[in-house]
Symmetry: C2
Subunit: 137 residues, 2 copies
DNA sequence: GACTAAATGCACTACCGTTGCATAAACTTA
DNA sequence: TAAGTTTATGCAACGGTAGTGCATTTAGTC
C-alpha cells in the first residue's frame, strides 16, 4: 500500500484509482486548480466523478475550496496538519490577473475581523487580485 | 428634472425610465441585491436591460459589484462621495447565512495587505460569512 | 461465491452571465 | 419639423459551471 493510499484511508476515503490520480495531480500543482483543469489533465476523465471526488476530499479535509472571484471554484490540497474539517485554516488567496493562476498564501493567516454589534462571523474569504511573482518579471 | 435625473446626468448616464427605477430601487434597499432580485421587483422588466443598466452604473461609479461567494453577483449603490470609478473603496462585505442577505460594511475599510515578495495587489475582496444583527435575535 | 455498499458513467437540469441583432427611443443638426 | 445619428431596449440564443437521478460497475463483507 502506497503512502497516498494510506493517507486517504486514514482520512476515511477509499483509495480508488481515480482518487489517487486526482490526489497526485493536486500534489504536483502548487497552485489551486478548477474542475475543468483537472478534467483536461486526464485523457479519460468523467467530470461528475471528479466533481464528487473533490467534494469527498473537501468533506474529509483533504482539500479546501477557493472562490477566487473568477466564477470557477478552485481546489487545493490542505497543508499537512491542517484540520479543515474541524476548524478553518483561514489563509489569504491570491489571484493573478495576468497568468490567471490562484495561489494559496498559507503563511498569510487572516486575523479575526472587527464587526459591528451583533454580527457573528463563521467564515472569512479574503482574495487579493493582482500580479504574481512569476508575472512580475 | 428630479434630483435622481440630475445625479445620473452628472455621472454621464442618460436618465431613462428604467434606469431611474433601478436607481430608486437600489436606494430603498440598504442591502446588496442581485440581478434576479431586481428583476422580480418589477412587473415588466427585461433581464438584459437590467444587466446592462447595472453594468453602466458600475462603469460610471454609481454602483459597485459584490462577489459574496453565493454565485450570484450583488450590486449596491456607492456611498455619496465614493469614487469607485477612479479609486477603489475597499470595504468589508458581510453575507448572512441565515437570511441570505449581503451587506456593505462601508465603515470597515480593508487595510493594505502584507504580501510575499514580488506580489502586487490591484484589488481585494473580503467577505465575512456568518449571522447578521437582524438574525441574531 | 453471494450479498451489500460504495463509486462511477451517462444523461440531463437549472441557473447565471453574456452577446448578437433587430427595433425603438432619444438626441442632434440642418 | 424632418432627416440623420447615436443610444437604449427587447428578444432570442449561447456558454459555462454546479448539481442531481439513475443504472451499472466495482469493491469490500460475510
Ligand atoms: Mn488555500
Ligand atoms: Mn459594498
Ligand atoms: Zn501570474
Ligand atoms: Zn441575516
Amino acid at each position: 500500500m502506497t503512502a497516498i493510499e494510506q493517507f486517504l484511508e486514514q482520512k476515511n476515503i477509499r483509495p480508488t484509482a481515480m482518487r489517487i490520480l486526482v490526489y497526485q495531480f493536486l500534489d504536483t500543482k502548487e497552485i489551486a486548480v478548477g474542475l475543468t483543469a483537472i478534467e483536461h489533465a486526464f485523457d479519460k476523465a468523467e467530470r461528475t466523478t471528479l466533481y464528487r471526488t473533490l467534494k469527498t476530499f473537501e468533506e474529509k479535509g483533504v482539500v479546501h475550496q477557493i472562490d477566487d472571484g473568477t466564477g470557477t471554484t478552485k481546489y487545493a490540497l490542505c497543508e499537512a496538519g491542517c484540520n479543515c474539517d474541524v476548524e478553518q485554516d483561514l489563509h489569504l488567496h491570491f489571484h493573478c490577473t495576468k497568468c490567471n493562476e490562484t495561489t494559496c498564501l498559507t503563511d498569510h493567516k487572516i486575523q479575526p475581523m472587527n464587526l459591528p454589534d451583533n454580527f457573528t462571523a463563521e467564515d472569512v474569504n479574503l482574495v487579493v487580485k493582482g500580479i504574481c511573482d512569476k508575472c512580475n518579471d
